[in-house]
Symmetry: C2
Subunit: 512 residues, 2 copies
């Protein structure tokens, strides 16, 4: 008893929290109560039409099934209800005439007609494109049955149909008036906000991934929820997961939004809602790259931290610029502004170019020349390299050195290592291998294995960089679909706050 | 008119096709019609209880709202309906007494109570964990209103409540009997089939990706549907997309399956359905890697085909072995068998090891040594390399050569090129760059650019290989969750058809 009382208190607190964080939910509940009360006033109708009080339940029923969270959903339900009822009314009228003509076989005709109606409606509602009208089929069967039952009892089919239609119309009217006039909740706006949120979430995720990778974040044990793609506590993971998962929600909202009349900031007739979904799809296409980047962090094969340091500033810059672009697009979408005249991708492209060049110049770090078939590294190359390493004005002194050497070298990275958690490269890399290795460890040369791992681990850094560059390439696509949307939806021109000032004259811009 | 007649014919043909391809849908529709007809027989009840015919609509209503495609869904709806009706009945009884006591204020009490009930139910049904009971809240409000209306008219609240409860029970009984006794459709079985299908789809996608990559499949123009993650015609894309997209369907089916009693092949009490979803999640985790692999095909930066040839057999073997493992797991899951004693991953791990070693030995192909900061490639290395290239027993003669050279070299690949579509490496690589380049082409050294692209394009091959190896690593996770499932669900021991025969004695197996 004590426990369940605590549970109840907990539930009440959470329910209260829900209302505070999203007041729309409270408003919706109040509106629903209000619409119901208004419809229920019909019960007390006293006057010439006694029937109205008797059948008032039809108006109430209509309110209960039609009143939905968003205006669009209410419209769809209303359409379904109207069409379903009308069809059922017509059919019921026909079959009723038939059953009266049939005389003795009346009951057989009625039961048979119900079977046929039930069969057809149930079958057709499984048809793929009929999904949004599922409710309509249900209403159709329901109304048909009710009319047959009521008509059969009183033999006044016409009256039964008409009274009900009027009351359903009254109920629908109450729904629409209450739902639209009092603090309307538009599905279109929810869709808009969802897409904006996707932009922001992805930016957070991207930054988290790149920074995590550079800080050599390690999962002690990867949560099995991530491995089975369930919701987990990891914020980085949750952000991109929500972007990927929002498809079905978007589709639902899109279905509702297309039913909504022009309103508020969305004043166009035939507002291009599907373009919002398209933009979100392009963002999702980027999210899959962030997912792959996160895969590099989750992977068993990890690049040694010193090598990551070599590309530290470039990787970080691409991550930061990419996130900036996403955030800017997100806030432009939020304010419904067109893109400014400058190339929004300029900085991120430049950053990607820097990274690419850096990789190009330092690609010897990414491979393991010791096992090249072309005869190993010649002594001359090594000597030369050692010489250059010393001369280099780099913070790091890593090249072809073997793993054991590089670990020792950690001390010689002067600046950035301070902020790093102590990563033991050798331990990281072999974290999960040994369990598999031990079974047949004696049967092969350990040294050879080590080299193979080492090369795999270095290549994982190349993979991370490639994926990041591919992410930047995919941003183009986001910008394109954003521009298409901003054209079609007639976004306003951006307000330029800053004086145009002398822009930095840049030469040699490399555009991905 | 002619057009709409054609449309109608088309629709009829498709509807017929739907029934032929999935007979369960026809059966469901027949069952629904049958249940409705049985319930409608109550209309003709003649006897002492006249009320039953009058209120027979309640039984029909119950059938209409409760009869769902799968047994589990019917149970959930039945539970919702029962609980909702009961709560509403009790509350209606209380408020009815209150309203009679209130005397003159009766109408105010009734309207107020309806408002409160409507508010509470609408608010609570928005609570996240209440999602599956949404229908219950609706029934609750509906029943409450109906009882108040009916009771208010006749003043016989108790009788109104009881008659309706009995009729609802009758309707629910008809639903359960018809739905369970005649060709039952189980949500659990659908879930099982869905997970099996995911295994097969992913295997197809993986093979398609690897083979497509090796055959240098190029998208003339990437369908914008892929770029915005919408359903497209591309089978390769559709297969992995359906794996990724099946989350929500799985969750729905899981919700239904947990309500189903033990049946058929699923005879355990508390069958571990959630483990099926977990296995599917692990498959999805792999699918994201296949998605990233496909990203390499979609990418603008493409590795030149000759370089792909260097790793042809290794890449293909990993792809084929990976798909084989997925297919085997899928068919084992289909037959509900445990894993055989041998290591199912042995072959794929070996293949991954081969690939890794090959990369290790050939990693000079993946980088561009010309721009190394350590002073470019020394002449000695180059000479040596040229020498080794000639001596090598490889089909390909590619190493550090510049792009223009490699294109000419295509002729010298004797065996596999025959089956290849003519890929012009230079053209592929710069397919989409020029449009961007032209704007500021004069401002930088073209030659330098070319090298940077070349190195990026070679690294993209390294990325593909890394991702493939990461895919293999993720297979472990699938096997683990499969084993957990097979333990919990008590799968049968595998039937060994082949004689145990002398297994190949292998040494030095490298296990990822």
């Amino acid at each position: 008893i004590k426990n369940s009382w605590d549970d109840l208190q907990d539930f009440a607190r959470k329910a209260y929290e829900m209302g505070r964080s999203d007041p729309r939910k409270v408003i919706f509940a109040i509106k629903m109560g209000l619409a119901l009360s208004i419809a229920s006033l019909l019960i007390f109708w006293k006057g010439s039409y006694e029937d109205i009080a008797q059948y008032s339940i039809w108006a109430i029923l209509t309110v209960i099934v039609m009143f939905e969270f968003s205006i669009g959903a209410t419209f769809i339900k209303g359409f379904n209800r109207g069409l379903g009822t009308l069809c059922a009314g017509i059919l019921a009228f026909c079959f009723a005439e038939l059953s009266i003509v049939a005389g003795k076989l009346e009951e057989v005709v009625i039961v048979l007609s119900i079977f046929i109606i039930g069969f057809c409606a149930s079958y057709l509602k499984l048809y793929p494109t009929m999904k949004p009208y599922e409710y309509g089929f249900r209403v159709f069967v329901l109304t048909y049955c009710i009319l047959m039952v009521a008509g059969n009892r009183t033999r006044e089919y016409t009256e039964a149909v008409l009274t009900r239609l009027v009351l359903i119309a009254v109920g629908a009217g109450v729904c629409f008036v209450v739902n639209i006039c009092i603090y309307p909740i538009w599905a279109g706006e929810s869709l808009h906000n969802l897409v904006v949120k996707n932009f922001k979430d992805l930016a957070t995720s991207l930054e988290g991934c790149v920074n995590g990778y550079l800080k050599c974040v390690e999962y002690e044990r990867i949560p099995s929820k991530i491995l089975t793609y369930q919701a987990a506590d990891d914020p980085l993971y949750n952000c991109y997961r929500s972007v990927v998962q929002s498809t079905s929600q978007e589709d639902t909202l899109l279905g509702f939004a297309t039913w909504e009349p022009p309103h508020g900031r969305y004043r166009l007739y035939n507002y291009p809602w599907e373009n919002f979904v398209k933009v979100s799809g392009a963002v999702r296409h980027c999210a899959f790259m962030v997912m792959a980047l996160h895969g590099c962090i989750l992977s068993e094969i990890q690049a040694p931290p010193e090598r990551r340091q070599v590309f530290y500033s470039e990787l970080q810059r691409v991550g930061a610029e990419g996130a900036k672009v996403l955030r800017e697009l997100g806030s432009k979408l939020e304010r419904m502004e067109k893109l400014s005249s400058g190339d929004i991708l300029e900085n991120v492209h430049e950053a990607a170019e820097q990274l690419q060049k850096r990789i190009d110049h330092k690609s010897y770090i990414l491979v393991n020349s010791e096992s090249w078939e072309i005869g190993g590294r010649p002594q001359e190359l090594e000597d030369l390299k050692n010489l250059v390493d010393i001369q280099e004005d780099e913070h790091v002194q890593l090249g072809f050195k073997s793993l054991s050497e590089t670990v020792l070298d950690l001390r010689s990275i002067p600046v950035r290592t301070a902020s790093l958690p102590p990563c033991d490269a050798a331990k990281n890399m072999f974290r999960r291998w040994p369990s598999n290795l031990s079974s047949n460890a004696e049967s092969f040369v350990k040294g050879d294995e080590c080299k193979t791992y080492e090369s795999a681990s270095a290549l994982s850094l190349a993979t991370f960089a490639s994926l990041l560059i591919e992410f930047v390439a995919r941003l183009d696509n986001v910008v394109d679909s954003f521009e298409e949307l901003s054209q079609k939806a007639n976004f306003k021109e951006p307000i330029i706050n800053m004086p145009p000032g002398p822009g930095k004259k840049r030469v040699g811009t490399w555009v991905v």
